[in-house]
């Protein structure tokens, strides 16, 4: 036996790189629910019109709590791309490819930094179009009253336009 015997089979969220997304824990769970439907969304203030990314529970401009969900583009253009082979956290398999992606004119969010998946090193070039790719993330238990429920999760990256 090694390490901490009490952790045997237990979930430790302090070692989880992905968010705890469920509504029992997180007030912006709508973002993840929308993501499950292939939608990339964020919040817009109904008062002053400010669009914020990432989504909020208050408007950082006017502090209104009256926010609505809006859709963001799911396609963008690669501005800069980099790959890393060494020093990759154990949760990723090398090469880790990340890109600085620009959304089309008119998008309230101009850029996003994202992993590129479903592609080889060298396949995606600067200027190429990429699209949102939603993938499953390991589920985790969540105490709810006296019960424990399993929470299914997703997250996003981008991939080459097929």
């Amino acid at each position: 036996m090694k390490g901490v015997p009490i952790l045997e089979g237990r979930y430790s969220n302090i070692l989880d790189m992905f968010p705890v997304e469920c509504k029992e824990f997180n007030r912006i769970y709508t973002f993840y629910n929308n993501l499950k439907e292939g939608r990339f969304t964020t919040t817009k203030c109904k008062g002053c019109g400010k669009v914020s990314y990432p989504p909020r529970v208050i408007c950082p401009e006017c502090y209104s709590e009256k926010l609505e969900w809006i859709d963001l583009p799911t396609r963008g253009k690669v501005v800069t791309i980099a790959e890393k082979w060494r020093g990759i956290p154990i949760c990723f398999t090398p090469p880790l490819i990340d890109a600085w992606i620009e959304f089309p004119d008119g998008s309230p969010v101009k850029h996003v930094l994202s992993r590129l998946i479903n592609c080889e090193v060298g396949q995606v070039k600067e200027g190429d179009e990429v699209q949102l790719a939603v993938f499953d993330v390991p589920s985790h238990p969540m105490d709810k009253g006296k019960e424990s429920i399993m929470v299914d999760r997703v997250f996003f990256a981008f991939e080459p336009v097929k």
């Binding site: 990432p54 980099a82 790959e83 890393k84 956290p89 850029h111």
Partner: protein, 395 residues
């Protein structure tokens, strides 16, 4: 009430490197080195402790470490005893806070102590733990946290927009390793050639092994005192804390404030604010310690600090302007690239070097240095911290 000036009177660090020692062991080594620097100073003279550390909570399972540290180093703080966590700028943040506490009259003699134990028993935890250094819910799942990928992109954009070359990046590592050669407390004591830097194994192109600062364990301590107490305790030339700034304009990478990734307006703003508060300009600075976490960082920082024009950081480095006989000697003890980067200890290590320079007792002495500056960026370039030092107080 008359204005109180804050001075730095002593400083010391433990050996930086891959240490067979815990954070709390290194804290004791650093505090001893610090008090050995000024033998008349005793633990009982110190009324405040600011402890800078980021990974102590995660890697050493210790939250609220300040009382733990105070006890081990023989302090009984009565003005302040708290932890400061600003990742790479924890030490500098502690120095800025100590300056404020001393100038306000709340504290008289404060130890700012930084320690970081980055080498966990199993090394996989180091990179995994670094994921926590970025905005957790948005950037960590994209693999950003360990910073090389993000800085590789910043290098690529700087090359694209300003024509910066691979050789110019390598010139940063060569210059800083050269300074670090005679610093026995740094992580490395070897010189490099441009070819060695370029041919080293790739981390994230265009950055290779020697373009990236290493992972390092270490601790450093510095003492900030009121001018009155400084005169009582120290016979050395006084070094005054002038003005500083800490700027944060975003956290999630998507909200990057620049026109492109080689443009760092948050750092430019921090420099403007710090110079304004210090009543200094870039031309006044005789020696600077800037945050060379990557070779590209130093090139961009020289630009944003106003030591050269925007876009000319590459040629500025390659023409030797940061050498002792150049326009502005930079990272004169080896910087992060050669000394290593035990996050919370780094700003203190930089402060100690500037103080030694201004007191005329540095290993790589800049002749007649009167004003110095330190700079840190934090995390994935989300915050910039600048501290200025002078042989005379701000008028």
């Amino acid at each position: 009430m008359s204005k109180v000036n804050a001075c730095v009177i002593a400083g010391g660090q433990c050996k930086f490197g891959v240490r067979e020692a815990s954070y709390i062991d290194m804290v004791q080594e650093a505090s001893k080195a610090c008090l050995d620097d000024l033998p008349d100073l005793k633990p009982r003279d110190i009324d405040g402790l600011l402890f800078a550390s980021t990974y102590v909570g995660r890697n050493s399972c210790q939250v609220n470490p300040a009382p733990v540290v105070a006890e081990r180093v023989g302090l009984k703080p009565t003005s302040i005893c708290t932890r400061v966590d600003v990742l790479c700028a924890g030490g500098s943040s502690g120095i800025l806070l100590a300056q404020g506490l001393v100038q306000s009259g709340m504290a008289e003699v404060v130890m700012v102590l930084g320690s970081e134990k980055l080498y966990t028993p199993e090394r996989w935890q180091i990179q995994y733990g670094e994921i926590a250094a970025s905005d957790h819910d948005w950037d960590a799942p994209q693999g950003i946290g360990p910073p090389p990928l993000w800085f590789a992109m910043q290098a690529k954009d700087h090359m694209k927009h300003y024509g910066t070359t691979r050789e110019q990046l390598a010139a940063v590592s060569v210059a800083n390793y050269k300074y670090g050669f005679n610093n026995p407390k740094g992580h490395f004591q070897n010189e490099l050639t441009i070819e060695e830097v370029i041919e080293a194994k790739e981390i994230a192109a265009p950055l290779g092994l020697f373009d990236c600062c290493p992972l390092t364990d270490g601790a450093a301590a510095i003492i900030i005192a009121s001018e009155e107490r400084a005169k009582d305790l120290s016979g050395r030339p006084l070094v005054y804390l002038r003005g500083g700034a800490q700027v944060s304009l975003h956290s999630v990478t998507a909200n990057w404030p620049g026109k492109h990734l080689g443009d760092w307006p948050h750092m430019k703003l921090a420099a403007e604010k710090a110079f304004e508060r210090a009543k200094l300009s870039p031309e006044d600075i005789d020696v600077a310690q800037v945050h060379d976490c990557f070779s590209i960082s130093q090139i961009i920082e020289l630009e944003e600090l106003g030591f050269c024009k925007k876009g000319e950081g590459g040629p500025f480095m390659a023409s030797g302007q940061t050498n002792l006989d150049g326009k502005i000697p930079v990272n004169t003890d080896g910087g992060l690239l050669s000394c290593g980067h035990p996050l919370g200890a780094t700003g203190i290590r930089q402060g100690i070097e500037v103080v030694k320079q201004l007191q005329g007792r540095a290993a790589n002495q800049v002749k007649g240095a009167r004003f110095g500056l330190t700079h840190n960026l934090s995390g994935v370039n989300v915050e910039h911290t600048i501290v200025t030092y002078g042989r005379e107080p701000k008028k």
